[in-house]
Symmetry: D2
């Protein structure tokens, strides 16, 4: 199988301004290797990110030029597998970053939380732990996945209409992600693999790890979508990324209503009723430049 490695200098944005590192055909199976969010520089509890990390976080593997992709298409990303390529992962408390601290955007005059690093190591039972206190079962997914916006180059720390740093645990093996194509070739990239992450990613840093992801791509031609969608064997999902968080919730459910109308022939008000009574709505991240919320509906309602 074709293997694609990240190429330095890595892109730290989603955008059209970085040259593609590979060109992929539809339905071609490829393996992408990804660096961790710190480029592997934080390796011990003494490696404080403010000291050893580079200026930018979330190096991407990409952009990948998808043959045949044109603006207005949906890029269909089948995630066949995500394999962790290390036996350790890293999390951290970074000053003025995270969900339970003032940040550069929610600015206060308080002191930051202490900077700290945790090295989680894989245990005999396959779980990851940094102490005896608790261990975390692997549930790997990609924190970043997206295409190029048409005009902007957006930081790899930002989730938005193009996907990006959504930090949504449903971006996992067995699921399919639908992304808007805004530029010819789509300029797909991915990275920021997580061993696991709680909903919301409260401290801002999951169990960060390098990984390899097996993917294939397809297109839905001339069928534009505004925001990312995800499909699992059991559910359809939409992701809204915005601030304040209620705007992300509104986007997610509005997009789910639209999907029901467009592809499943629901009346508008029936669709609104259905998601009101049977939808799920969880927080992907509450820490990034936009918050990402995921609305879900069981496929039992789609027959």
């Amino acid at each position: 199988m074709r293997e694609i490695y990240p190429v330095a200098p890595y892109p730290y944005t989603f955008g059209r301004y970085h040259e593609p590192i590979a060109q992929v055909k539809l339905n071609e199976m490829v393996v992408l290797y990804t660096e961790d969010c710190f480029e592997g520089r934080v390796q011990s509890e003494e490696d404080l990110p403010s000291v050893v990390a580079g200026k930018y976080l979330n190096p991407q593997t990409g952009p990948i030029y998808i043959e045949g992709a044109e603006p207005g298409d949906q890029l269909v990303v089948h995630i066949h597998d995500i394999t962790l390529t290390r036996d350790w992962a890293v999390s951290a408390q970074i000053p003025f970053f995270g969900g339970l601290t003032a940040t550069t955007l929610t600015a206060t005059l308080q002191d930051p939380l202490p900077e700290k690093v945790w090295i989680y190591r894989k245990q005999a039972d396959g779980r990851f732990a940094y102490s005896d206190r608790f261990s975390i079962a692997p549930a790997p997914f990609m924190g970043t996945i997206g295409t190029a916006p048409d005009l902007e180059a957006l930081s790899a720390l930002t989730p938005f209409m193009h996907g990006g740093n959504m930090d949504v645990p449903d971006v996992k093996a067995g699921n399919t992600v639908y992304l808007p194509v805004n530029v010819k070739g789509a300029y797909f990239s991915t990275g920021d693999c997580h061993v696991a992450q709680g909903e919301g990613e409260a401290c801002g840093v999951a169990l960060e790890i390098s990984g390899k992801i097996t993917l294939s791509f397809d297109l839905i031609k001339n069928r534009p979508i505004s925001w990312p969608r995800i499909e699992s064997p059991e559910e359809i999902m939409t992701v809204g990324s915005a601030r304040p968080m209620e705007d992300a919730a509104r986007i997610a459910y509005s997009e789910l209503v639209k999907w029901l109308i467009q592809d499943f022939h629901f009346d508008k008000w029936d669709a609104y009723q259905l998601v009101s009574q049977a939808g799920k709505l969880y927080v992907g991240n509450m820490v990034d430049t936009y918050y990402s919320l995921v609305a879900k509906l069981s496929k039992e309602f789609l027959t």
Copy 2:
């Protein structure tokens, strides 16, 4: 078993200003009957809420005076059973109310969504439906549950530190709710039974129904909590209600961290790590005067 019926004029607030309708001993098993949110006035699709509903919504059954409850205690509410007392339920689109519309608080110059009523009827298979399009499996819970704030009388449409209109599906049979006691006797009340509801309650109105709820009460003396907590057989949960929604998320996870520190002897940063990597965070409501978010942690981490 002792049965307690709602007494007209019903309270439409949580507060100390309404006389208790009953006094209950600790560990006494009681059945409370509850009216639906419209007091049963919306019975057909022609009964528009703006015409037939009263001025206030969410009539409460209560207040119930809990013997021995003092400010600073936790009121422990064991929910043994919730039984629906009708074979039909009602949902509605109410002008300028709901999650996917401008509202009185998110004010715009747009026209409202059309006012509409749906009558869901119980089907042979036990599910509820208003058409052939879809049916909803019952998952009954109480939309409102709470104690009196110490000073304020808060609308029964408002969720806050005292509980109230949280619209959180985990307020269900088999679970235990912990509420702050702010006044002598606690002044507990509940109502707003839902056959089922999606996370977020997107249109603002669930499958509204009358019900009866079997409860018993206990106290944790001199152990104040700021916000409601819920315990299921598998998980511990905290509920934060605020606007914007990220403030509700911050409260929910902060309270979960505090709970881990106080009752389960976690170090502060270990607790923050744990909820960051293993917590769940879903939206109870995105429509009420405050949004309610629920943070959860599996009890597997508490041993």
Copy 3:
């Protein structure tokens, strides 16, 4: 002139549940004396609010029963004079309260800012100062002013549709405040006099002082308003109080558009254009349970 003094136990809410302390006729000139927000208990820099202040803040002078006031009326409050009744004022940094700190509603895991008290003393030139660093020119206004909500009893720390703790510097002598009447007699109260305050009241505590306010009342019968309005000799203003802050902005401008349509016969879209090109919009408070924004329009456009 009739003088009305605050009566202990003071009300710390706006609501119908507290007995009126006085009954006033329309157009009767009255003087209301008000306590400072701490009830005068913080008198030196050693008097930390967390130690010496009572459980509740913002004692109100009221409720005042206004003869003839009925639900659906507007209560017209002419502010003839505000006189400071002390030669010193107090400000403070209170833990987890204020605009540039995490708070109980914007909860984080950080330590609070240090608790501090400043005693400002009146200088020879009439300005107030606590050191040589700077002095503040008096621009006195009432932090709280409002009527009773119809059903709720809302904390005197809360601004909302009834007025309340708006902390809006335009509630000053020479201006007229219009408030909704929700209960018979209106149940007007006021308090929380400020020597002066910056827009936003960033640290949460202005130059707090006792005062006396000379008022007379009038009614606009059967002409309900949803939110407070203010009129100065030069401008009309609307106040929206909500979270997030953009919701307060939306309310303020929506109400201004409504006012132009209803009383000044503007077409809806002309009104929207006018406030878009000539409106002013400032932050009254960014610290209270709801944020208060003030939209203004010069009367030059109303002829």
Copy 4:
């Protein structure tokens, strides 16, 4: 004086990816001509933006390479004059854009407001009007002004740390704007001239016009700032752009406190007190991708 004209294809982003159109020396006086936000395509009330406007709005004049500018410097922009170069201006209601409507980010299921265009023409008295109803006095300023972010290319509709589409009326002749330099040469650009605009820009479109702006540049070397600052003859100002709006307010006042500490030798808590008691805080825009708030302090406190 040297004149610089916008060069097609115009940049619609702030970023390092567009070639500079001119290189300017420090203290050189230059005149920049700017197109209106619609590139002059909306010329009558029949020219609906959804039909005649291009895909992108806010064409920029730039980037201008500033000699000697290095990352970490402040770019000092002296605005000597802004002259309107047409005798008419255009405003509009654009579907799902503006402050009193649902938008693409605050998504609802409601219909949009009607699309409308207003052509304001200069009157004999110098004011602008589209009808007899009202006229607007010119108070020209630049809606967009900024430098390149270090990595991102941000839409010219976005205000952020680099400046950009702040829509702040204090960006006017006689004032000085301080911008962060993130890339060598700064890559300055400006555009989106407004005849006048209300605070908040409620409908999202001011009196849009072409203009020419007379500028000179200077640098404060090695003195990084995070957010834009403005100085008028009477006041110092900071601009925060974020969502929700309270985050923009927090940034603006935090930056003002920092400025007082760094350049005017204030103690941190004295600075917090001062802005709390004497600061001003108004809304620049409540419509763009981030909301922009302006905190001000009179220079009387800086001696």
